[in-house]
C-alpha cells in the first residue's frame, strides 16, 4: 500500500476498522458525506463535537467509529442525552445519529419535543426502513405491504413520514435526502454545521437496509443505489407530476429552513428575567 488514504479516515478511529457494518451498508456513505462536509468547512478536529446515538446499526456510526467524544446511549434516548449535554455546555456542537426505529419509534416522543423546543441539536436519522440490527422487523417507516419477520403477510400499517411530520414543528431545518443524492446530502450537512448553527436541525437519509431490504428484493447494493437515483426526486419536481404518478417516487429536498433562535438562546433570555 502506498500512503494514500480515504479522506474520511482522518475523522475515524482507525484501530477499530473495518466497520462492523454489512458489506454495502449505506451507513458508510453517510459517514463519507458528513466527513466531507467537515473537511470542506475546514473543521479537521472534532474535539468540540459530541456525537450521541442510541441503539441500532446507525447508532454504531459514532460509537466507536468517529474520533470524537461519543455517547452510545439507550434505545431511543439519544435525543434526551444530547439535550442534557447541550444544555450543560452550549459551547459543544451536539450531533445525534440514529435510525428510524430508534429516533422515530421508541424515541418518537423525544424527537417531537426536541423539535418543539427547537433544541440546538443536529439530528441525522438514517432511515433504513426496518430494524436492521435485530434482523429486519417492521419499523414505523416500513412501507405498507413489505414482508418482514413481524409482517409475514405484508406490513398492514402505513409508514410514518418523519421529515414531513417534523416540518410541521418548531424545528429550524428539516431535510430529507436519499443516499444516492450524495452531493445534496453533503451540502445539507454543511448547511447545518456551518451556516444554520442553532435550533433543531433534522436530516433524514433514506438508505434502505442492505441485508434486510435490498437483499430481500434480490438486488445488490450497487443496483439499488442506481435505482434510487431515479426514484428519489425533488419536492418541486414531484409536485408537478400527476397525483397518481407521485406514489412511485420518494420525495426529497429541504422541507423547512429557518434560522430562529434555538432553545439555548431562549433559555438565556429566560434566565436573564430571573436575574432582574
Amino acid at each position: 500500500m502506498s500512503g494514500h488514504e480515504h479522506p474520511s479516515l482522518k475523522y475515524m478511529r482507525k484501530e477499530v476498522l473495518p466497520t462492523a457494518f454489512c458489506p454495502g451498508c449505506f451507513n458508510g456513505i453517510v459517514m463519507n458525506a458528513l466527513f466531507q462536509a467537515f473537511e470542506e468547512l475546514e473543521i479537521l478536529d472534532l474535539k468540540k463535537y459530541v456525537f450521541v446515538s442510541g441503539i441500532g446499526c446507525s447508532s454504531w456510526i459514532p460509537s466507536p467509529y468517529i474520533k470524537a467524544d461519543s455517547l452510545h446511549t439507550l434505545h431511543g434516548r439519544a435525543i434526551p442525552v444530547a439535550t442534557g449535554v447541550k444544555l450543560a455546555n452550549p459551547d459543544l456542537e451536539v450531533i445525534v445519529i440514529g435510525g428510524d426505529g430508534d429516533l422515530a419509534s421508541i424515541g418518537g416522543n423525544h424527537l417531537l419535543h426536541a423539535a418543539r423546543r427547537n433544541m440546538d441539536l443536529v439530528v441525522i436519522m438514517i432511515n433504513n426502513l426496518v430494524y436492521g440490527m435485530t434482523r429486519g422487523q417492521a419499523a414505523p417507516t416500513t412501507p405498507k405491504g413489505m414482508i418482514t419477520p413481524t409482517t409475514p403477510y405484508g406490513n398492514p400499517e402505513e409508514p410514518m413520514d418523519v421529515a414531513r411530520l417534523l416540518a410541521s414543528t418548531n424545528a429550524n431545518y428539516v431535510a430529507k435526502w436519499c443516499i444516492s443524492q450524495y452531493m445534496f446530502l453533503k451540502n445539507s450537512f454543511k448547511k447545518v454545521l456551518g451556516e444554520i448553527k442553532r435550533g433543531f436541525r433534522f436530516i433524514e437519509v433514506y438508505a434502505p437496509c442492505t441485508t434486510f431490504v435490498i437483499r430481500r428484493e434480490n438486488k445488490t447494493p450497487g443496483q439499488k443505489l442506481k435505482e434510487l437515483m431515479n426514484t428519489c426526486i425533488g419536492l418541486e419536481k414531484l409536485e408537478k407530476m400527476p397525483r397518481e404518478e407521485r406514489t412511485k417516487y420518494i420525495p426529497t429536498g429541504v422541507f423547512k429552513e429557518n434560522d430562529k433562535p434555538g432553545f439555548i438562546d431562549n433559555y438565556r433570555q429566560y434566565v436573564s428575567i430571573s436575574k432582574r
Partner: protein
C-alpha cells in the same frame, strides 16, 4: 457558624441541599408528591447559574441528567414511584457507564398510580434492584426535612467520589411535612468533586476496583467513548468476551461494596450490648419508633440511613444479643427480609406494617408490638 433557620418542607430542603451541594442541572417531570422539589429547582437554578429543564417524560429526564453529568455538571432529578419506574433503564445505564447523578424518589403508596398523596416506604426493593443485570448503586434515606437537607449533600458527595448514581428515598411525610430546617453556610459544607483524568489513564477501569476511574468532561479532548454496552477499560465496546464483561461488572460491584465503610451510615439509639429487644427502621417511621422506645432500657433502635449497600456484618453484630426485633415499615414489609437474614432463626422478627391512607405508624403501635 451562621446557619439560616427556615420553615420549609422536606422537598424544599432537598432543593436547597442540592443547590448547596453544587447541583447545577435539574431535569424532571412533575409528579406528586415530589413536585415541590422541581418547583424550587426551577426557581433556584437560574439564579445560581444552573440549568433547569422540564422534560417531556421521566425517560427523558433521567437521560438528560446523564448527558449533563458527562458534560461536567452535578445533576439531580426528583420523582415518585411511577416516575421512578420509568427512570430505571436510565439509572441502569448510569450504573454501567459510571455516571454520577442523584435521583430523589419521594415515596408514595403503590403499585401503579396507587395513592398519589399518601406516604409509603415500598420502593426500597425497587431502589436496590429495579434494574436488570448485575448492578449496584447507593441508596440513602433521611428521616426528617432537616436530614433531607444534610443528607442530599452527602448523596452528591458519594455520587461524585464513587462515580455512581445515588438514589435518595424520601417519602410524602418528609416531602410535604414542613419543619424548621437549618441551612448551612457554604463554608461549612465540604464538597467532593469527581476526579479528572491525568493523561492516559483508562476512563473505565482501575487496578483497584475500590478506586473509581477518573471522569473527563466532554469537549476536553479525550475522545471519550461512553457506552452502555459491555466495554473495556478504554470504553471500546466488547459484546462477545466473557472476560471483559465479568471484569467490568465485578469491578462495578466491588466499587460499591468495597467502599461500604465510607458509604454505610446508621444511627443507634440505646445500648446494643444490654438490649433484649431491637427496632430496625428507616426513614420517617424512625421518628415514631424513637418516641416509642424512650425510657426503655432493654430496647435498642437501629436506624439505617444507608439502605444499600447494607453492612450485614455490622447489623449481625448489633443484633446479636436480642431475642425480639421489630421492623416498622410503611409497606407490607421489605426491610424485614434483611433483618431476618442476619439473625438466628429463634429470634422473633416482627413487622409493624401500615401502608396507604397517609396514616403514619404511631408510637403506641410500636410500644404495643414491643410487648411481643
Amino acid at each position: 457558624m451562621c446557619m439560616k433557620r427556615m420553615l420549609i418542607s422536606g422537598n424544599e430542603a432537598v432543593a436547597y441541599g442540592a443547590i448547596d451541594a453544587g447541583c447545577r442541572f435539574y431535569a424532571g417531570y412533575p409528579i406528586t408528591p415530589s413536585s415541590e422539589i422541581m418547583h424550587m429547582m426551577a426557581k433556584l437554578l437560574p439564579e445560581h447559574g444552573g440549568v433547569f429543564i422540564q422534560a417531556e417524560d421521566e425517560l427523558a429526564a433521567i437521560n438528560m441528567l446523564i448527558g449533563a453529568s458527562w458534560a461536567g455538571l452535578k445533576a439531580m432529578t426528583a420523582t415518585s414511584g411511577p416516575g421512578f419506574s420509568l427512570m430505571q433503564e436510565g439509572i441502569g445505564y448510569a450504573v454501567m457507564t459510571e455516571t454520577p447523578l442523584v435521583v430523589v424518589d419521594v415515596m408514595r403508596a403503590g403499585p401503579a398510580t396507587g395513592q398519589a398523596t399518601k406516604a409509603a416506604q415500598g420502593d426500597l426493593m425497587q431502589a436496590r434492584w429495579g434494574r436488570h443485570g448485575d448492578q449496584y448503586l447507593v441508596v440513602l434515606a433521611p428521616e426528617s426535612p432537616q436530614e433531607a437537607y444534610d443528607l442530599i449533600i452527602e448523596a452528591f458527595n458519594i455520587s461524585e467520589s464513587l462515580r455512581t448514581p445515588v438514589v435518595f428515598l424520601s417519602d410524602e411525610f418528609i416531602g410535604h411535612g414542613r419543619e424548621v430546617v437549618f441551612r448551612k453556610d457554604p463554608e461549612e459544607i465540604q464538597l467532593v468533586e469527581r476526579r479528572r483524568p491525568s493523561d492516559h489513564e483508562p476512563l473505565f477501569g482501575s487496578d483497584d476496583p475500590r478506586i473509581p476511574p477518573p471522569m473527563p468532561r466532554l469537549g476536553d479532548g479525550y475522545y471519550v467513548l461512553v457506552t452502555g454496552s459491555t466495554h473495556n477499560e478504554y470504553g471500546y465496546r466488547d459484546v462477545h468476551s466473557f472476560e471483559t464483561h465479568y471484569r467490568l461488572v465485578k469491578r462495578l460491584k466491588e466499587k460499591i461494596w468495597g467502599n461500604i465503610d465510607k458509604i454505610f451510615k446508621y444511627e443507634v439509639v440505646g445500648d446494643p450490648e444490654g438490649a433484649e429487644k431491637a427496632v430496625v427502621c428507616f426513614g420517617s417511621t424512625c421518628r415514631s419508633a424513637k418516641e416509642a422506645i424512650e425510657g426503655m432500657d432493654d430496647v435498642v433502635l437501629i436506624r439505617l440511613i444507608t439502605l444499600w449497600p447494607l453492612n450485614y456484618d455490622l447489623l449481625r453484630k448489633l443484633l446479636s444479643n436480642v431475642s425480639l426485633i421489630l421492623v416498622p415499615e410503611l409497606s407490607l414489609g421489605q426491610l424485614i427480609y434483611d433483618v431476618q437474614q442476619v439473625v438466628d432463626s429463634d429470634v422473633k422478627v416482627i413487622g409493624v406494617n401500615k401502608v396507604g391512607g397517609g396514616v403514619p405508624i404511631y408510637p403506641s403501635e410500636i410500644k404495643e408490638a414491643l410487648k411481643g
